[in-house]
């Protein structure tokens, strides 16, 4: 029953994600400081943050669908998980894989690259697919040990494929083809709605919707759980004393520094194994607490995909990239350590302010949004 509810809720969220920005609820958060109408070139006091020229892809120029749930860069190839198939951009052309090619479902929610083999794993609303040399093999809850067909997250580490589903977490051992399921019966997972996963040889983290952040230590085989010290109270009583909220939507683990970045619908968190640091709109440059995706670069830097734009944090300053929430015109703002917000003159922005996925291609960035896929081409600093 829980699974059915989870699927229903997931469907609702996906439908919401695909709704036009104007229909989405807005928070009352405003910039702490009034913006200054100047560019970084004109005002050396404004921190230098990466500037991009965004090229946007929609159905008008080859995408199979404008709802892009996730994006994955594999060298010169870019994979986009859309609401109507898995698209790959290569040699300036899009090719789309559909259920007719064996894809588990038309809605592709998550992607992961096996860097050793070049295989791409796609989590969909109807199972998990492996795309290998053009062949698609599909694993479902009926034909395999996968716990549930709604696959929100996937991550590949060595011989293991880690999967976050609407009915718990799974691991597929590619060597033995055996599945291990992780749920309320064998982990501290209270809710089994696993929403994201980040796996490394040392640790695997699961973002669990309503059950905080789960950590699996690969060496000891032990599970640990990080929860909001405020419980399910949506008021932040103990900031920086733990995870910001129980409803965790995305996780990104940087093994080199033992840093965990976690996104929730009520703010974001960074954990270094000892200290927590939380990010809220009221005291950071985060454009919205409602964060769909997070991608850590290192211990200090991370990208945030929110319902009100794409944000970058360099450890001190923030940059936000989006179509203006009021005019729809391209917008980039920079917030410095003192909270001063400066608007930077730009002519392009991500295709939509509802950001669902981020990946990097050298110094460029690819952004999955609710209405198109964006390629951010880094511009030289002025």
């Amino acid at each position: 029953m829980k699974t059915v509810n989870a699927i229903a809720l997931a469907m609702a969220l996906l439908a919401w994600a695909s709704a036009p920005a104007a229909a989405q609820p807005r928070s009352a958060v405003k910039p702490a400081v009034m913006k200054a109408a100047s560019s970084t070139s004109q005002n050396p006091a404004v921190p230098r943050m990466p500037r991009f020229r965004f090229e946007n892809f929609t159905t008008a120029n080859g995408l199979p669908d404008n709802h892009v749930f996730t994006v994955l860069v594999d060298g010169d190839r870019v994979w986009a998980g859309t609401g109507n198939g898995l698209a790959v951009y290569e040699n300036h052309a899009w090719k789309t894989y559909t259920t007719a090619d064996g894809l588990a479902h038309r809605a592709v929610l998550s992607l992961a690259l096996d860097k050793r083999t070049g295989d791409v794993w796609a989590g969909t609303m109807g199972g998990l697919s492996r795309i290998s040399g053009g062949r698609i093999d599909t694993f479902t809850q009926l034909n395999s040990g996968l716990s549930n067909d709604v696959v929100y997250g996937v991550s590949v580490e060595g011989e293991n494929v880690w999967v976050a589903t609407a009915a718990g977490a799974c691991r597929l051992d590619l060597r033995t083809n055996e599945w291990s399921l992780y749920n309320e019966r064998n982990t501290p997972m209270v809710e089994i709605w696993a929403y994201g996963v980040s796996a490394t040889p040392g640790k695997v983290y699961f973002a669990v919707w309503g059950s905080g952040l789960l950590e699996y230590d690969q060496k000891t085989g032990r599970w640990d759980k990080y929860e909001d010290p405020d419980g399910e109270n949506e008021m932040v009583l103990f900031k920086d004393q733990g995870l910001i909220h129980e409803i965790v939507t995305s996780v990104s683990y940087i093994e080199a520094g033992n840093i965990v970045w976690a996104a929730t619908y009520f703010g974001d968190s960074r954990y270094d194994g000892r200290y927590w640091h939380n990010f809220l709109t009221k005291d950071s440059g985060l454009p919205s607490n409602f964060t769909n995706t997070i991608k850590g670069v290192d211990a200090n830097r991370a990208w945030f995909g929110t319902d009100k734009g794409l944000a970058y944090y360099d450890g001190t300053n923030w940059a936000v990239y989006r179509p203006s929430l009021t005019t729809g015109k391209p917008e980039m703002t920079v917030r410095d350590a003192q909270g001063n917000v400066t608007e930077v003159a730009v002519t392009t922005a991500p295709a939509h302010n509802y950001i669902l996925g981020v990946d990097f291609q050298g110094s460029d960035i690819w952004v999955a949004t609710a209405s198109g896929l964006s390629h951010g081409i880094l511009q030289p600093s002025r």
């Binding site: 064996g102 034909n143 040990g145």
Partner: protein, 640 residues
């Protein structure tokens, strides 16, 4: 529980069969073909160790011939001029493939039954190292730079990438089901990998998985060690060796193209299989499948392929027809250009491009040219001979006999009978057509002459099949002599060719087939999840504490060491197209390998048996299980 050899009736039957075999043995002289040397004047009742050569290679300097002997677990080294033995090098169990390093200093041998790689130092002709590898390694190739070794693992459907210096495995690349044979491109930049079982059906179909089989040639970039392409082999279920021309512009792959979607009763109307070669490469354009069969001259089960250095001829060994087919390349290319395909159904096509059909020994396998290209050598696995064929005349000029028993044992004769196609109508098929290397084929068949699409049956594994009677899914055949004799002759061979002695030997061979080692239970003990699954398999009460009726417990029907009570039951899986009656309980020996499942192959995986095809709990009480528990049950089944 049934104990082997303690059933008096069965013991009497076995004794009588043995007596008949021995009594007739002295009167029997096997009629050998032109290159058959390893035959004696009678059949030896004891188990003899034959060499059973399967692959051939010349050393880089051309002075030595390496012969991979699957029966004696050796590489035999012969003088390349005189063919006299130089040394026998023991390797692992049931070696299936071998290759030389680019510099010729190392000879790698894939030992398929003990999951190892033997590394032979070609200077000292000794085994320098034995490396553990994946499940059922079947061929091996080193890249040009000596960085990586690639090993095709049949059971795990992958090519493993190893460090060429240490043997340490770095990764595995997903290939076709039953990945077995690899061929490097002439420049070494690509590996072409074939597989012997068809890839699984992508989507379930309403009437079971009645879709044409599909295979592929997996193309690996050796420098990056990744899969870069998959050439489709549509409607081919079993693909074997590939050869490439020295200029890399022409490739040829031997394949079996079953006609399993129509009743097999149509054997006399053109065959149950097309025996084909698929040509690909720049000389051909889009890959083209060409039939090798001709009316009354079938090229049953093509296996080994070689392309002449001047690209004028393609040579294909055909296991069942015990022949070498010689293809004129220019004629074949002209045929492709001037005729519209597909050609597979056309029994007159091969007359356009087959230049010769040369009879060789029993179960011919690997082929190789002498350095000057004048001779082509063919390894006759079930004769312990090598046929040397003059490539100018297409005549056998020498039969090279390998050392070993000269008597034909009962088992050897049975195995020859199993692999030959001579007993079927026009020599079209043999037992090994559907039991690839004495296993199974991963296909479902429409066997009976009861109309299209009626009584579809999955083909079952025959490893360790002894003492699992009755046979057939409806349990209609009480013993192997009936199954392999009248039934096979009537419905498969469409002929009545076996004499009693031959049938006895065939049955003796099939009864002797062991099971391959179970890879999911390597040391005998069960892992925790397997233990939990075993408890579910054996449980007598469900999760609600209710007793499970005896006939609804896994362990009741699938009892005994082979997992069959040898009784028939209705487990709720029959379809409207099935004939009435209960179904025989299949044995569980190596059940992990034998997808698809159920009597008609409608379950593509073990999971689907219960997630889709057991809605009323008639195939065991399973609907009370969580997904975790079902997974446990399945990991236990894999250990059987």
């Amino acid at each position: 529980m049934r104990q082997r050899g303690r059933n008096p009736a069965r013991a009497r039957t076995a004794a009588m069969l043995g007596a008949v075999a021995l009594a007739l043995a002295s009167a029997m002289q096997w009629q050998a073909g032109p290159a058959r040397a390893a035959t004696g004047t009678g059949r030896a009742p004891e188990v003899l160790t034959y060499a059973s050569p399967v692959e051939l290679l010349f050393s880089r300097d051309g002075k030595q011939l390496y012969v991979l002997c699957q029966g004696s677990d050796e590489v035999r080294v012969l003088d390349a001029n005189t063919y006299r033995p130089i040394r026998n090098i023991p390797v692992g169990h049931v070696p299936r493939g071998f290759s030389l390093s680019p510099d010729g200093a190392r000879l790698f041998v894939a030992n398929s039954w003990d999951d190892t790689l033997s590394v032979i130092d070609t200077a000292s002709l000794g085994v320098a190292a034995t490396w553990p590898v994946g499940f059922e390694p079947s061929s091996v190739a080193e890249d040009r730079t000596g960085t990586h070794l690639f090993v095709a693992n049949r059971i795990s459907n992958e090519v493993a990438v190893l460090n060429a210096l240490t043997g340490a495995e770095e990764k595995r690349l997903a290939c076709g089901r039953g990945a077995s044979y690899m061929t490097p491109s002439p420049d070494g930049s690509r590996l072409y990998v074939t597989h012997v079982y068809p890839n699984p059906a992508r989507q379930p179909t309403p009437g079971g998985n009645r879709v044409p089989p599909h295979s592929e040639i997996t193309v690996i970039d050796t420098a990056r060690a990744v899969v870069v392409d998959r050439m489709p082999l549509d409607r081919i279920a079993h693909a074997f060796h590939t050869a490439l021309s020295p200029d890399g512009r022409l490739g040829a792959t031997a394949g079996l193209h079953p006609r399993n979607l129509v009743p097999l009763a149509h054997l006399e109307h053109g065959g149950a299989f097309a025996d084909t070669i698929t040509l690909f490469g720049a000389d051909v354009g889009k890959p083209v499948e060409l039939p090798l069969d001709e009316l009354e001259r079938y090229a049953s089960r093509p296996f080994g392929v070689a392309i002449a250095p001047d690209k004028s001829r393609i040579y294909v060994t055909c296991e069942g027809s015990e022949s070498l087919v010689v293809i004129d390349v220019a004629h074949a290319l002209r045929f492709i250009r001037t005729h519209n395909g597909p050609y597979v159904q056309d029994l007159s096509a091969s007359a356009h491009y087959v230049a010769a059909r040369v009879g060789v020994g029993h179960d011919p396998r690997g082929v190789t040219f002498t350095r000057d290209g004048r001779l082509l050598l063919v390894a006759n696995r079930l004769d312990d001979t090598i046929s040397a064929i003059d490539t100018r005349t297409n005549k056998i000029v020498k039969a090279i006999e390998l050392a070993g028993p000269k008597q034909l044992s009962v088992l050897r004769h049975g195995e020859q009978t199993f692999y030959t196609s001579r007993y079927s109508f026009q020599g079209q098929i043999g037992c090994a057509n559907c039991h690839i290397d004495s296993t199974f084929d991963g296909l479902t068949w429409d066997l009976e002459p009861d109309g299209f699409g009626r009584d579809i049956v999955d083909n079952r594994l025959i490893e360790d099949v002894k003492d699992t009677e009755p046979y057939k899914w409806n349990g209609g055949n009480p013993n192997l002599p009936t199954e392999c004799g009248p039934r096979t002759e009537k419905y498969f061979w469409r002929s009545e060719n076996y004499d009693d002695l031959t049938l006895t030997d065939l049955v003796t061979y099939i009864r002797s087939l062991p099971s391959r080692p179970n890879r999911w239970r390597p040391h005998g003990e069960l892992a925790p999840a397997q233990e939990r699954g075993k408890a579910l398999f054996e449980r007598a009460t469900d999760k609600f504490g209710k007793p499970i009726p005896e006939g609804n417990r896994c362990s009741y029907c699938h009892s005994g060491p082979k997992g069959t009570s040898q009784k028939s039951f209705d487990v709720g899986t029959k379809k409207p197209t099935d004939n009435p009656g209960p179904l025989d309980t299949p044995q569980l020996v190596n059940v992990a390998l034998t997808a698809p499942y159920l009597h008609d192959g409608s379950a593509r995986s073990l999971e689907e048996i219960w997630t889709i095809f057991n809605p009323e709990d008639k195939h065991g009480r399973t609907n009370d299980l969580t997904k975790d528990e079902l997974n446990d049950l399945i990991v236990y089944l894999r250990t059987r």
